[in-house]
């Protein structure tokens, strides 16, 4: 971890004591050394680009049917066509929008709710902590995906419900991480100082404690995005996801099952899209974990 500081290009440790490299430069030098993280960053960049511009990048309308059914991958249809003659590449590119949107929005919602619960529980302690953590522990006993399935069972299917279900399923993860951090930070002298200066509980929680608790929360959030994408694909695959005419990776994969003996490409490519997306986010998550640990170590000295 600490060797990061010493291997910063062109820096001797004496100078670094005076002037720490900016976050951006740390990030860039890290990326130069960590090929996995670089791969993740590039792939994710391409995915976000293609999600944003899916409408222009897609060679065909993702829902346009014609008689060119079940075509093998070719120059006209790079990833082939499905049973209704729809272009698979166009459908998968539009699916990127849904997957990334669900992945990011669920994590933002789950993080907001979970971190709030965790900070409040850790800060106030006593019965507040007991009540909140009893619930969090209950949820912790179950895998997030199963909780999402339970919640879809209650709320019903559809994009909005899927987003709510998956984000609620992540509350416990964030609450635990946030609470753990708050319990440590609460003991710091600057928190005592803030109290002495008459800062309100709200101010101490959100302006003094939370910013210092962010590092592990950010790492947790990154990892959660990849799990949320897998969860959305799984729910769609099971028929518990978005409406059935929306092109999502999970749904395309589910539809492919009837044709897998005749049209392998319908089964292979959606899964590859999911796998590469999740892989690149996991790589980034690992890199962030390393980098943010570095920050903590160097700050402590």
């Amino acid at each position: 971890m600490t060797d990061f500081v010493h291997s910063t290009p062109g820096g001797d440790s004496a100078r670094e004591d005076l002037q720490r490299p900016s976050a951006l430069r740390q990030w860039m030098s890290y990326m130069r050394r960590d090929k996995k993280a670089l791969f993740g960053l590039i792939v994710l960049g391409v995915l976000i680009f293609s999600a944003v511009f899916a409408h222009w990048l897609s060679p065909y309308d993702p829902n346009a049917m014609d008689f060119s059914m079940m075509l093998k991958p070719s120059l006209q249809h790079p990833l082939g066509t499905d049973d209704l003659g729809r272009d698979l590449l166009s459908r998968l590119l539009h699916g990127t929008q849904i997957s990334l949107f669900v992945g990011i929005s669920t994590v933002i919602l789950g993080m907001a709710a979970g971190v709030t619960l965790g900070v409040v529980a850790g800060y106030f302690g006593k019965w507040v902590d007991t009540i909140i953590m009893r619930y969090v522990d209950l949820q912790w006993a179950f895998p997030n995906f199963i909780i999402a399935v339970y919640l879809v069972a209650v709320f019903g299917t559809g994009l909005a419900n899927v987003i709510i279900a998956i984000s609620l399923a992540y509350i416990d993860d964030f609450a635990r991480v946030a609470r753990g951090m708050v319990l440590t930070i609460k003991q710091e002298q600057y928190i005592a100082a803030a109290h002495t200066l008459g800062a309100s509980d709200n101010r101490v929680m959100w302006r003094h404690i939370l910013p210092n608790a962010m590092a592990p929360i950010i790492v947790q959030a990154t990892v959660s995005v990849s799990y949320a994408i897998l969860a959305e694909a799984g729910l769609s695959f099971l028929g518990l996801g978005v409406e059935s005419d929306t092109p999502t990776w999970g749904l395309i994969l589910a539809d492919s099952r009837s044709f897998i003996s005749r049209a392998w490409w319908l089964g292979v490519f959606p899964g590859l899209f999911i796998m590469i997306t999740v892989l690149s986010i996991n790589f980034l998550g690992d890199a962030l974990r390393d980098m943010l640990d570095v920050r903590e170590v160097t700050d402590a000295h």
């Binding site: 199963i146 209650v154 019903g156």
Partner: protein, 316 residues
């Protein structure tokens, strides 16, 4: 130990009660009256009212809850609202051995792959083998299990015709029919599990191999294999067992999805079909049983923990 066991068992039962209660009230609290939606096909309002009365749904919720709960305690989970209104307890008990078969086989396969893989990559750190294990672990974690299932069907069933693509055969029909139906789904379920375990074993072995007592064993001139298997491995297992509870949960969640790929009518398939049919007694029953498996698997892992690591004493 008995005190600890007792406390944990009571805790597990409380969790189950909380889950049952949550599920019961949540299914009734949602806007849009799922029961009316469920009965939509039955016909006019009178028919709906009659059916509601028959199912006891016209009574206040707390009365329904108490009645339902007393029945659940007797193992009566109600009846499916479809077809021949078959008992939910029968549906889930028929499904249970299928899910348990799948999850256990997946567990065995994952351990058989992950333990040697993790050990080898720790012993031969940074070798080609280690790198290969790392790559497979990353892929295994990123790959959706249901997609892996489909890929296995394409390769081994649709093209090579070695194994049946879908379905289930109980063990009573012989080992091979059971095994041949389950091996592909078990690989699909077990792969992410194997990836996690292999990574865990690698890192915890590396830590243990760096410790003083291993240096002493080396200095004494003990055989390398003996050091690894007898001295290092048991201690390296401790952190692995800690994540085992989470990993088993993952295994069960995987089974729920993968059963749907291979048309195995286990708990997962029952649950999903129940949700899609809005057959809420079935959904409730399946959720309860799946939850019970999680809660008791976690309990079992915690107890196992004390057996593997004698330093842990919960009673003190």
């Amino acid at each position: 130990m008995t005190g600890y066991l007792l406390r944990r068992s009571v805790g597990a039962i409380l969790v189950m009660w909380a889950v049952a209660t949550l599920v019961f009230f949540m299914l009734r609290a949602v806007p849009g009256d799922p029961i009316a939606a469920m009965l939509f096909d039955v016909g006019d309002a009178d028919a709906i009212a009659a059916l509601k009365a028959k199912l006891g749904l016209d009574q206040p919720v707390y009365v329904q809850y108490v009645k339902w709960f007393l029945l659940v305690l007797q193992g009566d989970l109600g009846n499916s609202i479809y077809g021949s209104r078959i008992e939910v307890s029968r549906i889930v008990m028929e499904a249970l051995p299928r899910t348990l078969s799948l999850a256990s086989l997946a567990f065995v396969i994952a351990i058989v792959i992950a333990v040697p893989a993790g050990l080898i990559s720790a012993i031969r750190k940074h070798s080609a083998l280690d790198n290969m294990v790392t790559v497979f672990a990353f892929l295994g974690l990123a790959m959706p299990d249901f997609w892996l299932g489909i890929m296995l069907i394409i390769i081994f069933a649709a093209n090579l015709h070695w194994l049946p693509a879908i379905g289930y055969a109980p063990l009573s029909q012989g080992f091979w029919p059971w095994f041949s139906h389950l091996i592909l789904p078990a690989i699909a379920v077990g792969t992410p599990f194997a990836a996690i375990i292999a990574r865990m074993i690698r890192s915890s072995m590396l830590e243990v191999l760096n410790s003083d007592y291993i240096n002493v064993a080396n200095a004494k001139g003990l055989k390398k294999l003996r050091i690894i298997l007898v001295h290092a491995f048991p201690n390296a297992l401790i952190p692995v067992v800690t994540v085992m509870g989470i990993a088993i949960a993952l295994l069960m969640a995987g089974a729920v999805v993968v059963e749907n790929v291979f048309a195995i009518k286990g708990l997962g398939r029952v649950l999903i079909e129940g949700i899609l049919n809005r057959d809420y007694p079935v959904v409730q029953g399946a959720i309860l049983l799946v939850s019970a498996i999680f809660v008791f698997a976690n309990l079992a892992v915690d107890v196992l923990y004390t057996v593997i690591d004698p330093r842990i004493r919960y009673d003190s």
